[in-house]
Symmetry: C2
Subunit: 203 residues, 2 copies
Amino acid sequence: MGIVRVSASVSLDGFSAGPDTSREHPMGIGGERLHRWLFPADDASRDVPAGGVTPTGQDAAVAAEQFARTGAVIVGRLTYDIGVDLWGDVPFPVPTFVITHRPHEPRPMRSDVFTFVTDGIGSALDQARAAAGDRDVLVMGGATVQQQYLAAGLVDELQLNLVPVLLHHGERLLDHTGDTTTELVQTGLVATDAATHLTYTIS
Amino acid sequence: MGIVRVSASVSLDGFSAGPDTSREHPMGIGGERLHRWLFPADDASRDVPAGGVTPTGQDAAVAAEQFARTGAVIVGRLTYDIGVDLWGDVPFPVPTFVITHRPHEPRPMRSDVFTFVTDGIGSALDQARAAAGDRDVLVMGGATVQQQYLAAGLVDELQLNLVPVLLHHGERLLDHTGDTTTELVQTGLVATDAATHLTYTIS
């Protein structure tokens, strides 16, 4: 059986998005810097072709491994609303559950389906687990949804792609995730010039 | 010539101390957890003698290297007030500069001297550089003083001992360190079970 993962690219000062997330700035203002390891084409200083969205070397291996392990995805409504056009409606080609207060018919995506869940994070997780089979459930974002799962003690693994930058402003991934000290165990580490990929099991 | 370093043990959620720093809780409430890599005796679950404050293995090598490179130390007044009894007045056996608003005669320590600086962080740095010679100036803390040096662009290297724990509360090391995105370059990495020691050059 798979596990429940939270994965995010974060700045050294802990932001997983810049401020003012919108369709124009899906990662918040300045936040797209956090995905440069994943989408090197975002680096305007590099001479790469438009659409060159393939990470390289060890960064690519990290991305591929995360991709292969993912059997279902959970996102918040805002992430869906902002992302669905951006992604050409397939962030991952797996069943995707959208947590929302507004009921909505399931919406087909090219290779699977978006299901809208209105009865809470536990229900979304149950449905996602059933859909994921032996693979993992990825709580993809935004930070508010990731925090809710972390605070509820429902997350088995935290995967941080730590980017060597200070953003100074934005949305902090690990705010509001509990009250008493939470111990983790580091279980994975891959370091590149672009990011330090850290994996932790939550005990 | 040496460089200017900020070094701190931080939780995954970015705290370098727990809340309510005091003589009773020099690292803030719960914050002593952050120094377990450095002082394993703090780990009550280990069978180590009282006063067994020696880090082990690679953690020890990191601590020794930081110690050897340090030619002068800068601390804030609160860190001095809280720490001077705790440390037996020698945090590092090098000239130590205390930033304060209250003038005070130089105070001898066993192996050097505390100098009290009332005319600002630039003056403290000038004096510390002169005292450090070929070795580094370590801006030791607290976080407020480290933030002032970072925000002023006076720091060459940021050294984070990243501890696999979420504290949820306390003093964040990297708040108030600037306004526009700051790029860093990772130049060092040592990972142990106790901490991931990350070194960055600030560009």
